[in-house]
């Protein structure tokens, strides 16, 4: 049975959470999104149903966080908890139902990024960990790592500096460049520590995106294994198509396709039941 980091949520039933939860972590500008955009179609081509999700995409808290970040008065504790709200909303309403339906969930960042950001901002490490005890343990965490010397030029010459990615709330008085370096270096150090604690698989992100992707493919394949418990689309169809005796309802059609599979919101308590194919 799938596990959490120690605390259960009343709205989440832990039984029958099949699927695979795969986390892509790393600092800002390291190429996480690029890799997810490569992984998703590849997995779908192999016949897996995929849900991808990432920070501030929750219908509940996403807009609130974006509005709060436009101002100059988002405190450190508040920020940590706002992001935790966003995370738990997506966990309960997207990640869990998708896993229950046998999807591969690809998540762009997970609780580790939230922990690192909070701790770099001076939050108590015990406190930060206690909040995220409700998170599901993923099947794999791929940590895209790039040293600070290579990270800086990549960000400067692609998208430029952003106030929050540069940690300008932490180092007022520095310019964006100095602040970015200091902040990202502190984050890197924190990530490296978390990497040991939570057993990340480090992926060298310094190469071309295609090279990184090749590394990731091998690692992801290993997670899926040959007797993959993630339900492939043909298997899902067979399940929906009518094995008798089990009530099956899917929140959406599990057709393969390039479009994002939109789960919509699932009413709490979650009303999804599916035959588990393990």
């Amino acid at each position: 049975m799938r596990q959490t980091y120690g605390k259960l949520l009343p709205a989440v039933r832990m039984s029958d959470l099949g699927g695979k939860l795969i986390v892509i972590e790393g600092t800002d500008g390291v190429g996480r999104t690029t890799q997810i955009n490569l992984l998703r179609p590849w997995l779908e081509e192999l016949g897996h149903a995929v849900l991808d999700t990432g920070m501030t995409r929750s219908p509940l808290a996403g807009d609130g966080i974006r509005r709060a970040k436009e101002g100059n008065n988002l405190g450190r504790v508040t920020q940590t908890l706002f992001y935790a709200t966003d995370f738990v909303d997506r966990l309960e309403n997207e990640i869990v139902p998708a896993l229950r339906a046998g999807f591969i969930v690809l998540t762009d960042r997970y609780v580790y990024s939230l922990m690192a950001r909070a701790m770099v901002r001076g939050m108590d490490p015990e406190w930060v960990r206690s909040i995220f005890r409700v998170a599901l343990k993923p099947d794999a965490v791929f940590y895209l790592r790039l040293g600070i010397e290579k990270l800086v030029p990549r960000v400067v010459f692609s998208r430029g500096f952003d106030y929050w990615e540069s940690g300008m709330d932490l180092y007022p008085g520095y310019d964006m460049y100095d602040s970015f370096r200091a902040y990202q270096a502190a984050l890197l150090a924190e990530f490296d520590r978390l990497s040991e604690e939570f057993k990340f698989e480090t992926v060298d992100a310094s190469g071309e995106p295609k090279k990184v992707f090749a590394q990731l493919k091998v690692k992801v394949q290993r997670v899926l294994g040959t007797d993959s418990s993630a339900v492939s689309v043909p298997m899902l169809k067979a399940a929906v198509g009518g094995r008798s005796g089990r009530e099956i309802s899917l929140p959406c059609a599990a057709e393969p396709g390039p479009e994002a599979v939109d789960f919509g919101r699932v009413e709490w308590p979650v009303a999804v039941a599916i035959a588990h194919t393990n």
Binding site: F82, D124, Y171
Partner: protein, 245 residues
């Protein structure tokens, strides 16, 4: 690492004070909070205390549960569209509380104000646990909160509170009545069951946090006299408390 003209070895810790491991009354200000179920009369008592402290010349600041300008739109959205689960209900209220702590409660206590809060973390401990959240998890969540100088708990029998509420308004709101928990299809019955659970949690917290119990069935004046007496005893040694000239 280089920052401007300087070389540093390793990451630079940000220049911020750690907001943790606070002890009661470590700041010049004083923090008084009121707790109790809806209809216990706590807000009335707090507003009487507020006026009295102001009249005595103290710098007084009031902060209400669920009122952060940064967060309340999100809470409103969640309640209106019924997006909240017990966990996100808990987290969004903690976020609201964090914003008020960082923005007003903490700095004002440092500045020597008398800070009055209508509901405090104990409200979350009672409601969230009544919604099925883990007791320890919710307490950990509020680890950043400043411990109050005095936390008054206005104890009232459920039926008295319900009578007062029904006299004052039309009905109960969805989350207030715990309708999200499917305890009963009838809002009044659901309110009764849910608030009953909340009272149980409050009762357990009296010894756990040393809440000061006020019998909320007594006449308003009698309750207020008791509240002022207790508050006075905590103002006597607060030499740095800001008194207006």
């Amino acid at each position: 690492m280089r920052i401007g003209p300087f070389e540093f070895v390793g990451p630079i810790p940000p220049a911020v004070s750690k907001p943790w491991k606070r002890s009661r009354d470590q700041f010049p200000g004083r923090l008084f909070v009121v707790e109790g179920i809806d209809g216990s009369g706590k807000s009335t008592q707090l507003s009487l205390l507020h006026k009295w402290l102001e009249a005595k010349g103290y710098g007084v600041v009031f902060s209400e549960w669920n009122s952060s300008p940064l967060v309340k739109d999100t809470t409103k959205l969640g309640k209106k569209k019924k997006l909240l689960t017990p966990a996100t209900f808990s987290l969004i209220h903690a976020t609201d509380f964090a914003d008020r702590t960082e923005r007003s409660i903490l700095p004002l206590l440092k500045a020597g104000a008398a800070v009055l809060c209508d509901r405090y973390m104990y409200t979350a401990f009672a409601r969230d646990v009544a919604r099925g959240m883990d007791r320890e998890w919710v307490r950990d969540l509020y680890g950043f909160a400043v411990p109050p100088t005095v936390a008054f708990y206005f104890r009232v029998p459920l039926e008295t509170a319900i009578e007062r509420l029904l006299d004052a308004r039309d009905g109960f709101k969805f989350y207030e009545a715990g309708m999200d928990l499917d305890l009963s299809g009838d809002p009044e019955e659901s309110f009764r069951l849910f608030q009953g659970r909340i009272i149980n949690e409050y009762e357990k917290m009296i010894p756990e946090f040393g809440l000061t119990v006020i019998d909320a069935t007594l006449p308003i004046e009698v309750q207020q006299a008791r509240v002022r007496q207790i508050v006075t005893s905590h103002l006597a040694n607060a030499t740095e408390l800001r008194v207006q000239p």
